[in-house]
Every structure is written in C-alpha cells, then in structure tokens.
Amino acid sequence: MAEIGKPINRIDGRLKVTGAAKYAAEFNQPQMAYAFPVRSTIANGTIRKLDTSQAQASPGVISILTHENAPRLKPFSREQLRTLGTNVGEDLVVLQDIRVHYFGQFIACVVAETYEQARHAANLVEAEYAEEKPKIDLSEELPNGLRPEKKAYGPEAQLNTGKAAEPLRAAPIKFEQIYKTSYETHNPMEPNGSVAWWDGADKLTIQESTQGVLTERAVIAYYFDLKPENVRVVSRFTGGGFGNKAFPWTSNVLAVMAAKVAKRPVKLVITRQMMQTNVGRRGETVQTVALGAEKNGRLTVMRHHNETYAKLTNFFEPSGETSEILYNTPLREITYKVAELNLGAPTYMRAPGESPGSFAAESAMDELAYELKIDPINLRVMNHTTVHPQKKLPFSSEYLKECYRTGAAKFGWARRKIEPRQVRNGRYLVGYGMAAATYPGERGTATVRIQMTADGGVKVLCATHDIGTGTYTILAQTAADALGVPIGKITVEIGDSNLPPAPLSSGARTAATVGPAVQAAGEALRRDLLHLTLAGKQSKLNGKKADEIDFSNAKFFVRSDASKTDSYIDIMRRNDRTMMESCMTTVPDAAKSPSESCLIAPTSREENKNEEKYAFHSFGAQFAEVWVDEDLGTIRVKRITSVQDVGRIMNEKTARSQIIGGVIFGIGSALMEESQFDKRWANPVTRTLADYHVPVNLDVTEIDVHFIGKPDPRISPIGARGVGEIGIVGISAAIANAVFNATGKRLRDLPFTPDKLI
C-alpha cells in the first residue's frame, strides 16, 4: 500500500483556503428568498396569540409562517423513522401546535426578499403566551427523574442495579466521589444552514450543512410525505459537525417548509444565538463513582451512577460508557437517572458519554492511585482487561498497555512526583496527569462506485461526507492503492444523497465504513481491467496468469519481467471502452444486507467485524502537563501527549489533526466550556462565542500525538478504526489529575475556571 498512511495534504485543502470550497449557504439560487425564524421568549407554556400584522407590513416580507398557517406535516414517530433508518435531533415537528417546550423554540418564520428584511420583520412579530414555570434546575428535577431501560441506540442502560453495595461494603479500600460536568454546546464555525428549493409539488433539493445526507433525506421525505428518491440532499463541505449536524433539526424542516410556502428557493441559516438553543447540546451530568479495591490496588467492584436530563428525545448523555469497557473487576454497576427539563434536546456531541464519563471515571482512578500510593499507570495496568467486560469477548486488536508505555516515555512520566506540590516554576505550580481513553470501533455498510474514463481519470462516488475530517483525501488514497493509479488522477465525489449510500458520518465510523468499500470497488475494477489484458490478443500480457501480474502507476506488468507492461488507458482504448466502472457494497458481519446494494464484497468473517467473536474498541492514553497560577486560579495546559491505538492510520496528517482537534475540544471541556441557563427563565446567558468560550490559540500549546499504528485485522481488510472522537476522551481527567499533582487540590466540577481554584 503506497498511498494509504502517507501524511499527504488534503486534496481539498487548496479549495478550502482559497474559498473555492462552497458550503451549504453559499449555493445561492435564482429568485432566492431568505427565512429568519422567530424564537419563543418563554421556556414553558403555550402560545396565546401571535400578532404578525406589523411584520407582515414590513418591507420585503413575502410570507410569515406560524402554527396557524404552516403546512401540516406528518406527526413525529420514532418507530417509523427508525424503520426508515433515520432519526431527528428533536421530537418536535416545527410550527404544528402552540406548545412551547424551551426558550428560543421556533414559533414562527419570516420569509422576505433579503436577509436583513427577514430578520427585521422577525423582530416585529409579537407573541402572547400562557406561561408556566420552566423546569431547569437538574438537582430539583432529578427526584422525579426516570430510569430509562435502554440507551437511545439500543443497549441496556441499567447494569447490575444495586449489586455493588455489598461488595463495596466488603472492600478493604473504598472510594466514592461525585463529579459534575457542564452543559456543552457544539459550536462549529459553520452554523447549521440550508438552501432549499422545490421543483413542483413533489420534488425537492436541499443544499445542506449536514453529517448525513441520507438520514436527512429520509426525514424530510417522511415529514413532507415525498418519495425519498424525489428528495436530493447535497452537502459537499460541512464546516464542522460535532454531532449537531447528525440528524435534522427544526431549522432544516423550517427551510423546506418556507420554500414550499414562498414557492421560491429559500435560504435559512441560523444565528450563533440559535446555535445555543435549537440544535442540541451535551447534557450536564452528575456522576457518582465508587470503587472498591484490595490493598494492592486490584479492583473488586466499580459503581458509576449517572444523572442527566433529556427532553424531546430518547437520547441522554451516556456517561457510563467508558466504565463499561475499561478495567477488569468482578462486578460493575452502572445506572442512569434522567430528568426532564425545559431545554431543547440533548444530543450526540464529540464522544458522547465517553467525554464526560471518562472525566469522572479516570479522575476516580487517579484518586484511588493516590490513596494507595501507586503510580496511576501501574494501577491501570494492574486492572487491565483484554476482554470486553460485558460481552466477555476479546478485543479485536488492543494495545492499551503499549499506549501507556509509549506515552510515559514520550511525555517523561518518570519525572512525575507522586506527592503534589513538589514542582515549581517561578510562580507556577507544575503538575503531571494522565488518563486512559477508549471509544467503540464503529463500522457500517457502504456502497461505492468507481468510474475510470478513457483518459485514465478516476472518480470515486459515495454519499458519505467530509465534515472537516479528511474523508476526501483518505478515500482518494484508498482508491489509488486499490487501483494502482497515481493519486492525482483521482477525484472524489461525496456529500450527495443521489450517490451510492453510506451511513451518517458520526461515531468516527466514516473511514472504517467507506474505506473498505472503496477498496473493494477499486479492486473489482482492477480485476476487470486485468481480465481484459490477460485475454487481449494484442496485449503483451496475453496468456499470462493473474498471479504472475503486478500493478502500479496505472499499468500492469509481469512480475518476473517488468518490461512486459500494459497500461489501463491502452487496455480501455483497445477494448473500445470510454468508461469502465465498478460498484461494490461492503457489509460488516453483524449487519443486515441492505435492500438496495451493488455486489456485496465477499469478505472472510474473520476480517469483517465479526461481533460474535470480537469486541471492537479503540484505546488511548492521554498525558497532560499543567502550570497553575494558584493565586489567580488560572490553569495553563503546557503540553499534551496523546497516544492512540486506532488501527491502521489512513493518513498520518489528517489523523493527527483529528486527534489534535479532539484534544483541543478536551481542553475546552476541562477549562472553559459551559452553557449556563438562568434558573428562572431557562434562557441561556451564554448566547454567543463571547460568552461561550472555546479555546483560543493561547490556550493550546504543544500537542504531541503518537499512533500505535497496528492495523486491526478483524474490523475490515483495511484495518482502520475511527480517529474522530477518541482524541477528546480522557483529556479533562488528565488535566484534573495534573492539577491535583500540581496543587493538591482535587477539582471535580467542570469546567475549571478561576473561581473553582481560588
């Protein structure tokens, strides 16, 4: 494999830096109008009256949609959406009734000739409400919380409820603490936005900012009662999607609705303020972790109680995830309690569950290590598991101990003092901390079509996405290797629901899912070419056996005599082919065969994600050095070493960028990110990026990333697991542990702003 793994620049990099890469909202259409939503100013109650008369009279206004006049859509049904293989961000069909569930909910929408006119008129819509007291305080509502049976995506939520009490009582060493994590809001640079236009009454195109063109197509087709094939969703570039562009939100539906009513193309881009209320967030969590251990540090029991909120969704932050996977212990109890609040839906956000969950669990391990005066790495190694604790299956490929070892060496862990407050640098206290990380190795079903034209150009086609991760580039690299053509000959076309199907780009599954399909389709096309040359009368390779032939640089040659060659272009020319194509579907072992597919690639069960035999997880070790200015309560992360066991690295450079991005997300989570809501009115007071802080350059220093780089031979013939999410996991714990090592103060309440330390 010549191309896969190389740290080449993004093939779309030039387009991005020159502005030629067009994002959803840049696809202006002739006759396009602009929609601007009107938001509720209460968080709980009903709309009594909407007065749109002033707005209606405002210049440029084309129409105003309200619950009274908006097109009726099919009611929400989780079951039906599930059968269609999709989901929505919020179980709320926009503008269908008078109920207000949360502050900022869309209660009307102005369509006007210009954006400014729409926005101005939206300010003129007057609403009267019957207001009820909003529920917004998690601690107040938790007593009425529910204990969900299942997590949103299926598995049992409650594990061994009540069973840990006895072993905890009996444990020679006991430890229990409460950890809290804050509301976090995805704030990708590009806000969610759509340009939608109808072609008659039953055909629709949407330029969308999304992580899932097909999931969105299914939702829109469902709500508007259209044939899915009549809906086209296009998303060539997505300016960051961290979960809040996974499933459609009310804004996406509203754009389509507005275009229908205005009978014109409509652009709807939500504001940064709406990003804080209408497109999901990570729920606040309260996590109680109890550990029981022998005096030597061997765990005898783990208990992880998780409390959070949900609203308008069956999703809740699954913060017990890492506790299900890491460490060997005779018993683990993991429970969830979920309260309803008047907030928009919580949703998937980079490493949902693992990120806040690892903060609690990996802080607790550090606390236990300190109590026992054991090196935190040794404690982890002592309790290491090579088997998935629930499934009792071996991990497909697991190098966690190697991550610890490499990380410790690269970071200089040996210099760490076990007692806190030992290292000073000027006015700073210096501390080291580490944490383990894990994230599932997801892989789904994908279909890829590859076309080669007479000039030797290759096109890779698939309805997958590049949400900033480097998909374009790694698919080109994979195709280059599978076909044996130079990467410069390859163009990748993705982000269009009319292309061969691929799943949602979430859960760090894209490389692992689409990569194998590209490889299969590339190999199929190469085999077709090979047959032609071996059978070709004028071919220099005529009559040779397939296993005597090698390929590179768009040519076949005889392995024992490299002067005997035949190029792909020549083969096509001699055979009068202007275009050759292949289409392959790859289906992991445990997945059902899709109803529509191309030829299903034959893959041995052993290397096709056989979930009966193996559990699939990535692992990592995170190390942090912090400098704490104790007087002022400020924490600076001086450096991070992140070692990742994520299977084969498809591109060193884009993979590294993903980990760096995840680590920075983790620094944000540890030190500053927090959405705050007023306890009386449930409105966010963190309304813009001036109040919702994400790390700036000065918050981010050296991030040293290392990959174990061992392909996972069981997940797919390519051996790659995802890199998109695991970078964040464990970072806030590593920082918390480093802060303890520096100061002797244990912080258990994210984020660590100066008020928490002084």
Binding site: R119, N123, N683, H693, D699, P754
Partner: protein, 336 residues
C-alpha cells in the same frame, strides 16, 4: 436590523449638529460594538453618522494647557495604532498593555479609542431583548440582579443595574488620570476628567457616561507622569486570551527612596465604571513597597466590595490581583 440612514460626516461641526438634532441617531466609529448591538435589536438608531474620516486619529505630545508635555491620543485613533505608538509605548506602557489585553487583534484594528470608552456593557441580559434590563429598557427590571451575575459588579451597583464596564483600555486611562476632550454641541470643546466620565448606574442605568447627545470625543489626554518604569496591567479571565476580564488591575508606582511617592490602582470588571481603587492608593502612599503593604492595601479596597450571588469569588480574586499587579509593576512591568 432595523432600517437606518447612513451618512459620512464631512466635518466635526456637521457631525455634532446632525447627531445632536436627532436623539435617535448615533456616531459610527469602528462599528465593532454598535453594529452587533443593532443586529441584536438592542440599539435601535434610525441614523448613523460615520465619523471615521474626521481627522482625530493622531497620537501627539500635548503642546500647551494643563497637560502640557503629556500625550494626546485621537478619539478616532484605532486601538492597535494607539497601543503601538512610540509615544504611548515609551511613556505609558500601562496603556499599551491594557489595550493589547482587550479583544483580539482584528477587533483592535477596527476599534477606535472613542468607541472603546463608549462601548456598552457585556451583560447577557442587556443583549437579549427577551430579558428584562433597565439599561436597555428603563423600568423593565434588572435580569442580572438575581440571575447569573458571575461577570457582574462588586462596587457601586444599584438594585437597578449590576453591570460592569467591559473596557480594559479605560482601566489604564482612569489610573493615568486621563482627560477626555469632547466637542460640544455648542461648538466649544470641554474637558472631562476620566474618573468623572463614566457613571455609576443609580436609578438611570441607561446612561453609561455623562456625554450629551451629539457630543463627540475628539481626543484623550494623558498627563505626564513618572510611572513608565513601574506599571503593570493584569487581566484575569476565563481563558488565556480574547475574553472579558473577571477582574483586571492597572497598577503604577513611583518610588522615592524606600517609600511609595505616588501610586495608582484601578480595576476593571468590578463596576459600572472603570474603578479607581482609591482606598488602596490612600493606604500605600508614603509606605514601603512590600508585599505586606500591598496585601493590606488590597484588603482596604476590597473591604467595600458588595458581591452578588455568583461573583463572590471576585472579592478574593480582586484582592490577589491587586497584590500581583503591584508586585509585577515593581518588577518593571514585565510578565516574569
């Protein structure tokens, strides 16, 4: 954004007259604050008079008058140019540090000095038209008083408003005893001591300062002083850069023999106006520049703090920040 009329001022008289004549009009300088507020429907002028072409952007030595020998910075000078001007860097490094601690490079390139003085509070309830706010809508109530008031005032607040002035630059200017030069509507220039320029909220929080409608800031004069070798601006915030101050302190000292001859301490992020820490100054004057005295001075100042529900930490933080800023100032104002 509401529709508004835009015009470009040709000369000062015309700019002042236009804005004086229409109580619903405003000057437009860098636009980094007023335009955001208009988009959010917080500010609703129907007319903007762009003053950026007027000739008030120079930094120069004051030739005559009370501040002779000091430095004048133009009301329409850009924050970046002002901070980096040699006259400012050499004579008032405190001002350079304070300006550069604010906002981001891009915003400072646009932002003007006059605009910086007149920027409005960052109180989130002020920005959200769905919320009560006496500053935005007199009589509607103060959302922050019993709301999330972590970023709000410790000193001089009233039940009608607990907001803080967000500027860094102004904290240095109040410490340096600057004077605001204003072109009045009567065609005359008036001088306002910096400490009197911004107001406490009282029961009229809608007024941030004592400027009259139509009055234009033409310059800010900083009198000569001997603080250049011992001054420091400290800003404590929720991230390393590009965030408003939780607490900031401008400190400047002049030492004679073993005693503090002259000292200035001012604070940001603690009041409706840039807060001159008079009690701390009073305590320190004539005493030795020791850590113990710095602590006692900080105590003297912070004793009068009246924290709200979520900003109690700022009392201790303020105390420590005063000590740190004074200490750093004594070390020559570097970060070391």
């Amino acid at each position: 954004m509401r529709p508004f009329k835009y015009s470009r001022a040709q000369n000062t008289g015309n700019a002042v007259q236009t804005v004086a004549a229409n109580t619903n009009s405003k000057f437009l300088a860098g636009g980094t604050n007023i335009l955001d507020l208009m988009k959010e429907d917080v500010e609703r002028p129907d007319e903007l008079v762009d003053v950026t072409r007027l000739n008030f952007s120079q930094v120069r030595t004051v030739e005559g008058g009370a501040n002779k020998g000091g430095v004048s910075i133009g009301g329409l000078g850009r924050n970046t140019d002002t901070a980096n001007h040699p006259l400012v860097r050499q004579n008032f490094p405190l001002l350079t540090q304070a300006i550069l601690a604010g906002a981001s490079q891009q915003i400072r390139n646009m932002a003007t000095n006059g605009g910086n003085l007149n920027q409005r509070t960052r109180c989130s309830y002020f920005y959200d038209t769905a919320m009560p706010c006496n500053k935005r809508e007199p009589g509607s109530g103060c959302g922050a008083l019993e709301g999330i008031n972590r970023m709000h005032a410790l000193f001089g607040w009233s039940n009608d408003c607990v907001a803080v002035h967000p500027s860094d630059m102004c904290v240095a200017l109040v410490a340096l005893d600057a004077v605001v030069k204003v072109q009045g509507t009567d065609g005359k220039e008036r001088s306002i001591p910096f400490a009197d320029y911004h107001r406490l909220p009282g029961n009229t929080p809608q007024k941030d300062n004592i400027l009259n409608q139509g009055e234009l800031i033409t310059a800010i004069e900083i009198p000569k002083n001997n603080f250049a070798s011992k001054s420091y601006y400290l800003k404590v915030r929720d991230r390393a850069s590009y965030a408003f101050a939780l607490v900031s302190v401008a400190a400047a000292l002049e030492i004679e023999g073993n005693a503090i001859k002259n000292v200035r301490v001012a604070m940001g992020g603690v009041s409706h106006k840039p807060w001159r820490a008079v009690e701390a100054e009073k305590f320190l004057t004539g005493k030795a520049a020791t850590e113990a005295n710095f602590k006692a001075a900080a105590d003297a100042e912070m004793r009068n703090a009246k924290p709200l529900e979520h900003n109690k930490f700022k009392v201790e933080l303020g105390r420590r920040a005063i000590v740190r800023a004074l200490t750093q100032a004594m070390k020559g104002g570097t970060n070391a």
